[in-house]
């Protein structure tokens, strides 16, 4: 295994799903079994990525492999340097781990879909869309430059559009698809501008070259503020794609797509691309930019968590939970807990995919019923689904011995340490509150779905455990939600290989003065033996270390408390949740109506744009054209006056120039009376006037 073989392997993994997409799309209509082609390609891709990950992590642990080629060369440019745009891929540990994650989830979702989508009239088309998605997602993961990042960023947007709108006969589905695409575009504009800013300064899109330039002190527009602006602009892309506040509104609607799609795209992988992107550009994020990111992350963690508490649609609950968890990761990046952000990304991918597939299993067996108030008691009918769902929920809630516990604890420790170092304690506060809320709404969902008595007898009778193809992915994913894959010590994630040797906090390129205080290099002590991991500085590492056990205890307790509350309200019915809601009506309504984001956006932006476009269109027809066309009213009156005019108007003489011309013409016609004496009179008059002028 040499480097070039690894690169070729990575490229193969990248393009395999594309081949699957093309073949399945073109011939899927004729050849019914073609979805197996797509599936086997995914199996192959998964195996290859496992091989790739193994060799990269073992043989080239500390190396970053880059391969690029010249894509566009604008020649020798006068006054400036040359502009050469390279495309290429980069392999580091994060990349291979991410590839592996994507391929695992993608493969499992493929397999699950074989059962779930059975009987759909566009069965093969569905798989081809999954293929293009996988391709685009791998592209995001593999790229070594911002341009390709943007390209694949848009392509996942496209596949998301296609898959959300897969059942386009439903208006809600096509609406949701459109909404997802457009809302994402808002973020993309920011990201695009950010990329432009960087390209303007560095004339390159490649990460490594940009990082190097920044580390030499060459900043966008020459100021640290420019760097911050660039960072925040790039982050806009993540806001859109990772459905962060205030652009989170598309994700709940995106649940109109088939459930496996929700699992793959809108929970595990694509929405995490925003986080991944932030991880990629982390070295250039200045302190101010990070603070913005952390704030957005905190808001996104908190608001959806409060909404999830009152939702009745099982997928909506999971969707809001996804936003909330993504908020966690974003917040983690903002507070500098780089490694935990990625770690949570991976663990979340598995358990959230598990949850979605589990809910898919439920929905499938309930004949596409998603409303939890109509479920209940499914525990007996679907034990396997129940258990896997439970395990994944525990992981999501951050209960010890799960992967979620490890990663979430790390993030909370990061916020805690951040608070202690900078005084911004509210990130930690938000983190803990959300941990409580998460546990509460997840177990509310479990209880409403699986516990208690069935609310809809008829559907309940028909419900049955899912087939093997659907059950198997659930089992795998719930297994991946347990702690031992990541660290053998269930209470300390740093003991696993993943965090101790594979994922390293990168070198920061930002100038010292623009960093957080605790990220400055002069504080650094290279003393590997004392600590599991060396991050930016001694103080930060120390602070995290100290925060570890307090947060561990607090978060576990809060999660358990949340579970307890859920049981109190929904299982044991000590308090009637409805009455409780009645008492807190304003808050309940706010949460139930998703903080009215959709309504506000619709009333302001959507209606505003459409209104503006109508005005412009009117303006175009009536005014701009009117300037040339002459006012309609006047034309009408005039045509009545002359009679003939109307004919000519209908003939096409409606524009103002011709209109004025017509007036002129009519004016001149007046002189042509047909009486020769009048003519002579005119001649004599004109002569007198001319004589007067030229006397």
């Amino acid at each position: 295994m040499t480097e070039s073989v690894l690169i070729k392997l990575a490229l193969l993994i990248l393009f395999l799903p594309l081949i699957g997409f093309i073949v399945t799309l073109l011939f899927g209509k004729r050849i019914k079994w073609l979805y197996w082609f797509e599936n086997s390609i995914l199996i192959l891709a998964f195996l290859l990525s496992a091989v790739l990950a193994y060799f990269k992590l073992t043989h080239f642990t500390d190396q970053t492999l880059i391969s690029e080629f010249e894509w566009i060369n604008l020649g020798s440019i006068p006054f400036v340097k040359s502009i050469i745009i390279d495309l290429g891929i980069m392999l580091d540990n994060i990349t291979v781990l991410m590839i592996l994650t994507v391929n695992i989830v993608s493969l499992l979702v493929h397999i699950f879909s074989v059962g779930y989508m059975k009987g759909d009239k566009r069965y093969n088309r569905y798989f081809s869309y999954l293929g293009i998605f996988t391709f685009s997602m791998l592209g995001i993961v593999l790229t070594h430059n911002l341009l390709m990042m943007y390209v694949f960023w848009e392509l996942v947007g496209l596949s998301s559009y296609l898959l959300i709108g897969f059942w386009y006969e439903k208006k809600t589905a096509s609406d949701a698809a459109k909404k997802a695409f457009i809302v994402n575009r808002i973020g993309d504009i920011g990201m695009f501008l950010g990329i432009l800013t960087l390209f303007l300064t560095y004339n390159t899109f490649s990460f490594d070259k940009i990082f190097y330039q920044i580390s030499t002190g060459n900043l966008p527009f020459g100021t640290e503020f420019g760097l911050t602006v660039a960072g925040v602009l790039l982050f806009c892309g993540a806001i859109g794609k990772s459905a962060q506040f205030p652009l989170h509104v598309w994700l709940p609607d995106a649940m109109e797509g088939p459930t496996p799609v929700s699992a793959l795209i809108h929970a595990a992988t694509m929405v995490a691309a925003g986080v991944y992107f932030m991880i990629r550009v982390f070295p250039i994020l200045s302190g101010d930019a990070l603070l913005v990111i952390a704030t957005i992350g905190a808001l996104s963690a908190f608001i959806p968590a409060t909404i999830a508490v009152t939702q009745n649609d099982i997928k909506k609950v999971l969707a809001y939970s996804t936003i909330s968890q993504l908020g966690y990761m974003i917040m983690a990046i903002g507070v500098g807990a780089y490694t935990f952000a990625f770690f949570h990304l991976v663990t979340h991918a598995f358990f959230k995919a598990g949850l979605f597939l589990g809910s898919g299993s439920v929905i499938h067996s309930m004949h596409h019923e998603q409303d939890m108030t109509k479920m209940g008691g499914l525990r007996k009918k679907m034990p396997l689904t129940y258990i896997t769902f439970l395990v994944a929920s525990l992981a999501l809630s951050g209960i010890p011995f799960t992967s979620g516990f490890l990663s979430k604890d790390g993030i909370l420790a990061g916020t805690f340490a951040f608070g202690s170092l900078t005084g911004y304690w509210y990130f930690a506060a938000v983190g803990f509150i959300v941990a409580f809320l998460t546990a509460f709404y997840m177990f509310r969902a479990i209880i409403m779905t699986f516990h208690g008595k069935p609310k809809n007898k008829e559907k309940f009778e028909h419900a049955k455990e899912s087939s093997f193809v659907m059950a198997m992915p659930l089992v795998v994913l719930s297994a991946l939600s347990l702690f031992f894959w990541y660290s053998l010590n269930p209470f300390n994630p740093n003991e696993g290989k993943l965090l101790s040797s594979w994922i390293k906090t990168p070198e920061i390129s930002v100038p010292q003065s623009a960093r957080y205080e605790f990220m400055k290099t002069d504080d650094k002590i290279i003393n590997k033996e004392n600590l599991e991991e060396v991050t930016y500085s001694n103080s930060y590492t120390e602070a995290i270390h100290h925060a570890h056990y307090p947060t561990l205890f607090t978060s576990a307790s809060l999660a358990l408390l949340g579970i307890l509350f859920a049981f109190i309200f929904y299982q044991w019915k000590v308090f009637d949740p409805n009455k409780f809601a009645e008492k807190l009506k304003p808050i309940y309504l706010l949460s139930f109506n998703k903080w009215y984001f959709d309504e506000i956006y619709y009333a302001s932006f959507v209606a505003g744009t459409i209104g503006l476009s109508k005005i412009i269109s009117m303006f175009d027809n009536k005014f701009i054209d009117g300037i040339v066309n002459g006012s309609a009213l006047f034309t009408k009156n005039f045509s009545a006056f002359t009679g003939k005019f109307d004919n000519v108007v209908v003939d096409g003489l409606v524009n103002m120039m011709a209109y004025i011309s017509g007036m002129f013409g009519l004016f001149f016609r007046r002189f042509q009376t047909g009486k020769v004496q009048t003519y002579i009179l005119f001649v004599v008059f004109s002569l007198i006037i001319l004589l007067y002028i030229f006397r």
């Binding site: 009376t673 047909g674 009486k675 004496q677 004599v684």
Partner: protein
């Protein structure tokens, strides 16, 4: 006895010219209009002769007047023929009723 100078002639010719124009514009009868034209031509003739006489320009003025008189006759003949033709088709020679050709 007043001395008749060039200016007297010029005044006469100007009056004649104006009368001619006036006649052309106001008369209804085509014949009268043609007479107006003759007046205009004769006003010019008076000018030619008077200028030649008073300005010592030789006999070119008189010559010009002769030509004009001949042409006036020719023009009158042609015009009369045309008026005759009009009378045949319109059965009147009232000039302001002949206005079928107009915008």
């Amino acid at each position: 006895m007043i001395n008749i100078t060039l200016y007297h002639y010029l005044i006469v010719s100007s009056v004649l010219f104006c009368l001619g124009i006036f006649g052309v514009i106001t008369r209804k009868n085509a014949i009268m209009v043609l007479m107006g034209i003759e007046l205009i031509l004769n006003a010019a003739n008076i000018n030619f002769v008077a200028f030649a006489r008073y300005g010592n320009f030789g006999n070119s003025g008189q010559l010009a007047a002769l030509f004009v008189i001949i042409l006036a006759a020719a023009e009158a003949a042609i015009a009369m023929a045309i008026v005759l033709n009009i009378y045949k088709t319109f059965t009147n020679i009232n000039i302001d009723e002949i206005d079928t050709l107009k915008d």
